[in-house]
Symmetry: C2
DNA sequence: ATGTTTGCAAATAGTTTGCATCCAG
DNA sequence: CTGGATGCAAACTATTTGCAAACAT
């Protein structure tokens, strides 16, 4: 079963209509090796589907995230947040309400970063980031 | 030496003037147990310093981030980014240019999440996130 | 047929920039 | 005094929402 067929099944399962816009956005995502923004996707799909609007791309990406076709990377679109806690710690980010919760774990603080990465980049800060839903948002 | 004195030293070291606005923002950050946005800080400091503008808060927070007084949390203010790569992987985020780089490590994939966190939250996704500077941005 | 989806336009949100004034050093 | 910092206004970027028309089922 092709990826596209799997995608169509998933849409049907969630009672989503299979529109040409959704298909073209899906294909673009599957060909992407990057971490595209809505606007980057829009530019790419416009070549194949010139009449598509940026809004449709935004909406479709939100839906795709909800049904697990893509994930969001760091940068959730909400305002920039600052962290005055300079102690080593880790974050849980609630996908429902956006709340960030700190947690601590010496084991996690000590996880090794692959040498290849240490060599290529100047690392200022490391942190385990969990995405999910907090108690309040599970209930809804 | 108090935190405030350390802060003043740090400012001097970076040739930054000690203005009442900067002091009041610094104090507000030190009292914060959260991950405030610029606007949240602005609301808080306005009580103590009513004439302060949101721009000053934004600018000051940017400066504070540069000199290491605060970190940025996930959510860097740039556009929302999507990740079509659903394989377990980790991210390096360049603080200079915003580029996200994937990397893989089975050891990291298997890091244990503290039970306390697993119980409190419904975790969809976990990822190690590194912040730092890529080759290109180091040169600048 | 009918209810979802689309595209447009307008609204909203958050941040940045230019510039004149002000103030810390 | 003097250059950096501030506050205001405007510009800018990214996203969301309301609505009529279009389309998938």
């Amino acid at each position: 079963m092709s990826k596209l067929d799997q995608f169509i099944d998933k849409c049907k399962h969630h009672h989503l209509k299979i529109t040409p816009q959704r298909i073209v956005i899906f294909k673009s995502l599957m060909n992407s090796k990057e971490h595209p923004s809505a606007e980057m996707i829009h530019k790419k799909v416009k070549k194949e589907f010139p009449s598509i609007s940026l809004d449709t791309v935004c909406r479709t990406l939100t839906i795709f995230t909800e049904i697990g076709i893509v994930h969001t990377a760091e940068g959730h679109g909400d305002p920039k947040r600052f962290d005055p806690n300079l102690e080593p710690h880790h974050h849980f980010y609630c996908l429902g309400c956006g709340r960030l919760t700190d947690f601590y774990s010496e084991t996690l603080d000590q996880v090794k970063i692959p040498d290849e990465i240490k060599q290529r980049f100047n690392i200022v800060h490391k942190r385990l980031v969990l995405n999910g839903y907090c108690e309040k948002c599970i209930k809804k």
